[in-house]
């Protein structure tokens, strides 16, 4: 599964994107953020306050309880500031 990071989430993880194999038990976006947080200080900095993170599955907004299921691309980013 591809994970993409934008804006300060990208800067904190130090990655624009990566491919990951999900371990058993990671079933929702929320689970994924918790699991990522444990992968190192950079991830902990990015995902320390998961309430401040917005999520998209296959380029559509979802909430943290959305189930990963057949998703190909997950993205994490801050609240949008365009317009």
């Amino acid at each position: 599964m591809k994970i993409r990071y934008f804006a300060w989430v990208r800067e904190r993880t130090g990655l624009a994107e990566e491919d990951v194999d999900l371990p058993a038990g990671v079933e929702t976006a929320s689970d994924l953020m918790r699991w990522l947080s444990g992968r190192g200080e950079n991830y902990e900095m990015a995902f320390g306050e998961p309430d401040h993170i917005r999520i998209a599955f296959d380029q559509v907004h979802v909430t943290a309880d959305a189930r990963l299921g057949e998703v190909d691309e997950v993205a994490f980013f801050p609240p949008m500031t365009g317009g």
Partner: protein, 153 residues
């Protein structure tokens, strides 16, 4: 859905006049056109530029969803949304929305709605570059924008 929205996400500046005219050219059924142009402000001289990051693909997709919601809600005869990304200097346009309809009320409300929704849903993020050369921080999302979007629910 009678109208097919024009949607563009691009780095280059755009010609506001050409975009407005495309909406009405050769038509005699449109009674009102509302446009909104969002510009980069220099924050009293402290800002050198904004850097807009975006999520390619999702940006176009999300704008299309917001545009479709507008055409379902109001009887629009034309709809254009252009959003830039990359480095944008003070005074330059960032976003452009134009709506055309038979009567003015629909055009006004749809343009207002589109801006509120683009602000809170389109995947763009602004970073400030200060005039003193310092790379500034990411612009924080504003509660006032969330409240504005809530008006349409």
């Amino acid at each position: 859905m009678a109208v097919s929205p024009t949607i563009r996400v691009q780095e280059a500046p755009f010609d506001i006049r050409a975009e407005s005219e495309k909406l009405t050219a050769g038509r005699t059924d449109i009674g009102g056109v509302v446009t909104f142009t969002g510009l980069c402000r220099d924050e009293a001289g402290t800002l050198a530029a904004l850097e807009l990051e975006h999520y390619p693909g999702m940006a176009e997709g999300e704008i299309a969803r917001v545009a479709a919601a507008a055409t379902e809600r109001w009887p629009l005869l034309g709809l254009t949304v252009i959003h830039r990304y990359g480095r944008i200097a003070p005074g330059e346009p960032i976003v452009f929305v134009a709506t055309a309809s038979e009567h003015r009320r629909a055009a006004f409300e749809a343009a207002d709605f589109l801006m509120d929704y683009l602000k809170t849903r389109a995947p763009f993020w602004k970073k400030e570059h200060a005039a003193d050369g310092v790379e500034g921080g990411w612009v924080e999302a504003k509660a006032v924008d969330d409240a504005a979007a809530e008006r349409w629910k």
